[in-house]
Symmetry: C2
Subunit: 604 residues, 2 copies
């Protein structure tokens, strides 16, 4: 326990962490960009118990200013930075999992960083601390895991720069990682995020009290520079909406806080306070070292490199937040697309949130992303006897009498029959995953769902399915040509604006495609228009009114057949049914059927 | 000319401006927040000639770091900051207009600011320069205009903080402003923008070389702090997309520039250079004074205050840019909505742009926003004989044989007849403004168009119409109950997703509403579905195919009548026509007509 103070006491007033353990590696630690650390200390905390099989360990990677104290150990303990997520019965359930949270290499909370004594010189490293990378951080964590006797992690979990570490774990040690949960992260920083880090480092390094990094023995360090860097960072962690909520009502009423920074506006008093407090607990050289590691982090400059860096042997859960502008959701989508290209098992959701980058630390959207993480992690372990699986819970819910799926099963039966045994299937507009779940039970192994609705995505994750959030109208660029044996577009075509684009896309991605849609030429519809002079609807599959139906495209079986001829699409099978009578229709389907099922493929 | 150097020579290396004129006001200038400047110098440049009527003067308000040199005076002259906009034949045409661009109060390029000598102490003001506001800046400009013998400005034009000044001109001196063009601006800063300014000021004031603001006689001023503030600012002026374009390709290859700031990444070398250059030409105390004026600027904390601050006696053109995250487009929309509430003549477009806040200074989107400004300003003056009016140009274009409006006029004839003489009209989905132009010629005075398409908005502005960009599916919240005598929804209902919401909204806003839509129960459509088993389309108003029509709602005349009954809507008139035969239909319209025209109103 003594080691921890050796490397953290350079941070004035920093509170010692009571439950921290330390391990010292006295062998030299070689760094990715050259240079060696002759001796490295790792500070970490653990929660829960390692089971006998040693297969329930999860490593949690903290973000820029975090530390090993991810959660309270007991009710007397100080709050942790992710108490909502980690603990008994929480999504990362310490009754079930053995959780390890190390302070990061280069940090200032116990693990060796620029504030530590360099054994060679017996002085603090300061600016002589070698440039470290996210790979180095992960390498040290791997060393730690090894020493704890763990061969393979059940999961690596992290948000922000913690997410970078999680991605890097999978890249460097794919055989030692079962699954990855990465929140609010990116394959590398975009130029805007990089720019803010650069300005922060400039503020620190050009602070006259920086003294070339050897400020430790001076009365003042680069406190203004570090505070300015922290203030900039704080703005980037919040969304404009969140700032409006926090500061607009009392815009001109600054809080009475102890800071020498400007206090004219409420947002200014907040930032000044945050900057002032941060200086008390964080080392400026660590801030430089960690932001530089973050800025150098790059999972792949080209798409090909990124694809190569994402192993298919892990299972992945990627979560972004819609208002995160520091690591915007498109960057998470780049990771997801690379994983899809590898045929890696991945689920993804861009959580609608107003909380910005910090959303992954906050309660606001926790009901969604917390439950996604809970279900995902539970599905990485064998089901406990007596416990209801997450899928069983979902099934029970969706069998409720109010479920719209309750009575409509005939078309699913047919689709399941039409899919070749063992085929890989992409289900577009997969809903809560009932069709995919049936295929899974039939033994299909490569199954992917695409869905927009967050709750349905959660339901799919609970079923242990891979589901990716995407808008069909924006195209299926993530998917490669002929990547799936079968693409299913079930009762979705009629809700799509860009019909030509979506059909071209599914024929590109699937060797065969199953398309189902309501038939506007169903005899009841014909009668309604011809005899009553009313827009078709109100019967068969077209239940809703002209002004509130989610359907925006109306076609008949004959229309679709003509479309296929025009576009050079091969029709392999056609089935039709009268879902009101729950019957398959063979005679004059364009008149007698309200639902059509086509199996199509691309010619040539 | 000597005065200019007196107040700008504190900025080391700043280049003198050759064409600057100065005026000195030796009376005391009282400031909004208290305090007096005993003597004020205004530096300004002028372009073009004031006409005899003295009614062709435009004042241009510069942004934070700009100055009076808005454009080149001749080919030998240094480039101006808005050369693309101002000059002979340019949108702000100096052959036509007399353009005045003053350096702002508090600045450091000729006009009195913190670097000027305080006559009372014979020392520079420094931090003793009183807090100034945007109102003070505009008050000084008003004084200048007065001295130039101009009673009323044709227009006030400005972007960013220049836009703030333009808004403030209209608020303080509505009788002296004919029109306002405000680009990339806001009714006040949001908390995020405010926060960046606060951090910038903190970096300057807490720089040890700030010396309480009296750094002028020291070897070094707060150069690091000012450079850091400028770097932060620069990030906020660019969009993430623009930064990607600028820096991603050579991310790790910094430019060889003269700066002592970090040069590891290309974006870092850019920012370092910008920061270093800025220090050479700008005074830190001016930066503090001007950003504080910007941060204190507030056209109204509540919507009511904002509405009160926007006079209806001026004509307004508001332009925002979609990727501007410093002054996001919703803030421009707040101004527009306030103007709409005042029944002020306003046009608005949120230009689709990837260039961020700086878009208004760049060529990328200039073809659109430049032409909008050109047309808007021309329409503020009486048409010159022999010159084609901007409306005539548009008319000529839209009469080309390819125009979809070429043959379809019967419904417009009917709508024009249905509108009460002199009624105020809101045309939703107004296109290029042909209907409104006809009503204008008939003598209607209060006419407003709503449209999404940028080019059509430009066409409306060319016609001298007031047009506001908005998405009908997002509602008409900007408009008050019963604000218009008549709301027209012509051939637009079928392209709207939220039919119930839009109909409820138009009935709220209009005393009467004219709704036209294609009739799905037209006999040809009935036959196509009943006999051919094909989706209606290909004839009458429904020309396109089921898979590529912009229409997403399909209804018959009978459906709409039932809808009106269900929702308690009064049908005042109904007309129907066969547009293929160009005939009005009286017999069995739900069978014989392909287009319906309803006049409806809210019951009670």
């Amino acid at each position: 326990m003594s080691k921890i103070f050796e490397s953290s006491d350079n941070v004035r007033n920093s509170k010692p962490l009571r439950h921290v353990k330390t391990l010292v590696f006295s062998e030299p630690f070689a760094l990715e960009l050259g240079g060696i650390l002759p001796c490295v200390t790792v500070a970490f905390e653990t929660y829960g118990r390692l089971n006998e099989a040693r297969d329930n360990a999860i490593i949690l990677c903290h973000a820029l200013s975090g530390d090993s104290h991810v959660a309270q150990h007991d009710s007397e303990d100080d709050p942790g930075w992710w108490d909502i997520m980690v603990g008994p019965g929480k999504p990362i359930d310490t009754n079930r999992f053995f959780v390890i949270c190390p302070n990061v290499l280069g940090g200032c909370r116990g693990t060796t960083g620029p504030g530590a004594i360099n054994p060679a010189t017996e002085k603090r490293y300061g600016q002589n601390f070698p440039t470290i990378t996210v790979g180095d951080m992960v390498g040290l964590q791997r060393w730690l895991i090894n020493r704890l006797g763990i061969e393979k992690l059940l999961a690596v979990v992290g948000g922000s720069v913690g997410g970078h570490q999680a991605l890097m774990w999978a890249k460097l040690f794919p055989d030692h990682v079962g699954s990855v949960v990465a929140l609010a992260t990116s394959p590398r920083l975009n130029s805007q995020a990089l720019a803010f880090d650069v300005v922060g480092r400039n503020a620190i390094r050009r602070d006259p009290h920086y003294y070339g990094g050897q400020y430790y023995d001076h009365e003042h360090g680069p406190e203004v520079g570090l505070a300015v860097a922290r203030m900039i960072g704080h703005i980037t962690y919040l969304s404009p909406e969140a700032m409006k909520r926090k500061f607009e009502a009392d815009r001109m009423t600054p809080h009475e806080v102890a800071t020498e920074f400007e206090k004219v506006f409420s947002v200014g008093s907040y930032l000044g306070y945050q900057g002032t407090k941060f200086v008390e607990r964080f080392d400026a050289n660590s801030y430089i070292a960690l932001t530089m590691a973050m800025d150098l982090f790059d999972m792949g400059t080209t798409r090909e490199e990124l694809v190569k860096a994402c192993p298919a042997s892990c299972r992945w859960l990627i979560i972004s937040f819609s208002s995160d502008w520091l690591f915007p959701s498109e960057q998470s989508r780049d990771i997801v697309n690379a994983l899809i290209a590898r045929n890696a098992p991945v689920s993804y959701c861009n959580v609608q949130s107003s909380c910005g980058h910090d959303a992954f630390l906050l309660l606001d959207d926790f009901a969604l992303y917390g439950e996604m993480i809970r279900a995902f992690l539970i599905n990485q372990t064998p089901p406990h006897s007596g416990q209801l699986s997450t899928e069983a819970v979902v099934d029970k819910q969706s069998h409720a009498p109010t479920s719209i799926f309750h009575q409509r099963r005939l078309d699913y039966d047919r689709i399941v029959e039409l899919v070749e045994p063992g085929a890989s299937v992409l289900d577009l507009g997969c809903g809560s995953g009932r069709l995919l779940a049936r295929l899974k039970r039939k033994g299909h192994r490569r199954l992917v769902g695409v869905e927009l609705d967050e709750q349905k995505i959660l339901a799919c994750i609970c079923r242990g399915l891979d589901v990716v959030q995407a808008d069909l109208n924006k195209g299926l660029r993530a998917f490669a040509d002929q990547q799936f044996d079968c693409v299913v577009l079930s009762q979705t075509l009629q809700a799509v604006l860009d019909v030509e684009g979506v059909i071209a896309d599914i024929l590109r991605v699937g060797r065969t495609c199953i398309v189902t849609f309501p038939n506007i030429a169903y005899h009841k519809n014909r009668r309604i228009l011809a005899e009553e002079g009313r827009a078709p609807g109100g019967s068969g599959w077209m239940r809703q009114k002209w002004y509130n139906t989610p359907d925006i495209r109306f076609l008949s079986i004959a229309d679709f057949e003509e479309f296929c001829v025009e576009k050079g699409i091969r029709i392999e099978r056609r089935l039709a049914m009268d879902t009101e009578a729950n019957l398959e229709v063979s005679e004059n389907p364009n008149y007698n059927a309200d639902l059509a099922i086509f199996v199509i493929s691309r010619v040539g």
